[in-house]
């Protein structure tokens, strides 16, 4: 997401960056953005740069997709009723 320092880093016609020279820093920022933990400064940097760097765009979508898969697809089992009852019995709540 870093702004390219010279034109040779720009993609030939599309004005996009095809490599990211600062990917580790970008990944930290992308993680913070997706977790809702980014600072205002990070959010602003993200808004201004996410459209031009192809590796960062790809990673953003991948991270987002994994995060959503974890929260939406993994089965959540209800606590077995007998366990709820066992706890209540032990504490004489019944």
């Amino acid at each position: 997401m870093e702004v390219p320092s010279n034109t040779s880093e720009l993609g030939s016609k599309d004005g996009m960056k095809h490599t990211c020279e600062n990917h580790t820093e970008c990944m930290k920022m992308i993680q913070a953005i997706l977790d809702g933990e980014a600072s205002e400064e990070e959010k602003e940097h993200f808004r201004q740069n996410i459209d031009v760097c192809i590796p960062c765009i790809k990673q953003y979508h991948l991270e987002k997709c994994i995060k959503e898969s974890l929260s939406n697809k993994i089965e959540r089992k209800p606590c077995p009723e007998n366990l709820v009852n066992a706890i209540k019995v032990k504490l004489q709540l019944l």
């Binding site: 990917h23 580790t24 990944m27 930290k28 993680q31 913070a32 977790d35 809702g36 933990e37 590796p55 790809k58 990673q59 979508h61 991948l62 991270e63 987002k64 997709c65 994994i66 995060k67 898969s69 974890l70 929260s71 697809k73 993994i74 089965e75 959540r76 089992k77 209800p78 606590c79 077995p80 366990l83 709820v84 066992a86 706890i87 032990k90 504490l91 709540l93």
Partner: protein, 201 residues
């Protein structure tokens, strides 16, 4: 919401009625999340049940150190995590192998410091197509410390600050551990996708 993690007794003790009232109102509604957390940690339904029951017994015993109006879910998760470390990890069914791998992965990584340069060649579409069990298996295959941060952040939706308190680690460590955990998870997903021929280009 603030999280009070103090285990020293509060100034005012609850009456017996209040203890039951707080327990029912604040703690019992968290039982499904607690069970799921326990199940993801232990990978075993019986162990998960024992762990949840132990945690609730402890929560009741130490209820006077729970400050009303603070985050009950985070408070309970911290007790469960500590019980897991103290009681269950020791008698893990696959002891030395897992433990060694865990120690190695955790401590060779300079976790307190920098994030590592890391790119896994995995496409979002590939992940999109996976079913829940496939994602869950990849998660379950991570060492427990890494699994835990992903569960807390992505499944249970805790903030970094809450996670820091639940895990007794600084926020910077939460960030770097999450980053490493996600890189490991991507590798597992990538290996799985490759083995199934999902990610062919």
């Amino acid at each position: 919401m603030s999280v009070s993690m103090s285990e020293s007794p509060a100034k005012e003790e609850y009456t017996d009625d209040q203890r039951y009232e707080v327990f029912n109102r604040e703690f019992m509604p968290q039982i499904n999340s607690m069970y799921n957390f326990a199940f993801r940690l232990t990978n075993d339904e019986d162990d998960a049940q024992d762990l949840v029951q132990d945690t609730y017994m402890k929560a009741f015993r130490f209820i006077s150190s729970f400050e009303q109006g603070t985050n009950a879910k985070a408070w309970l998760f911290r007790i469960l995590k500590n019980s897991f470390i103290n009681d269950y990890r020791k008698k893990s069914k696959e002891p030395s192998k897992v433990d060694y791998q865990e120690v190695e992965t955790t401590y060779n990584s300079d976790e307190s410091g920098e994030f590592q340069q890391h790119t896994v060649d995995l496409r979002a579409d590939t992940v999109q197509d996976m079913i829940g069990d496939e994602v869950a298996n990849a998660l379950n295959s991570l060492p427990v410390d890494f699994r835990t941060v992903i569960i807390l952040c992505d499944i249970e939706g805790f903030t970094y600050e809450e996670m820091a308190k639940i895990l007794d680690i600084p926020i910077g460590t939460v960030r770097s551990r999450l980053h490493r955990a996600r890189n490991l998870l991507k590798e597992k997903l990538k290996n799985y996708a490759s083995s199934m021929g999902y990610d062919a280009r």
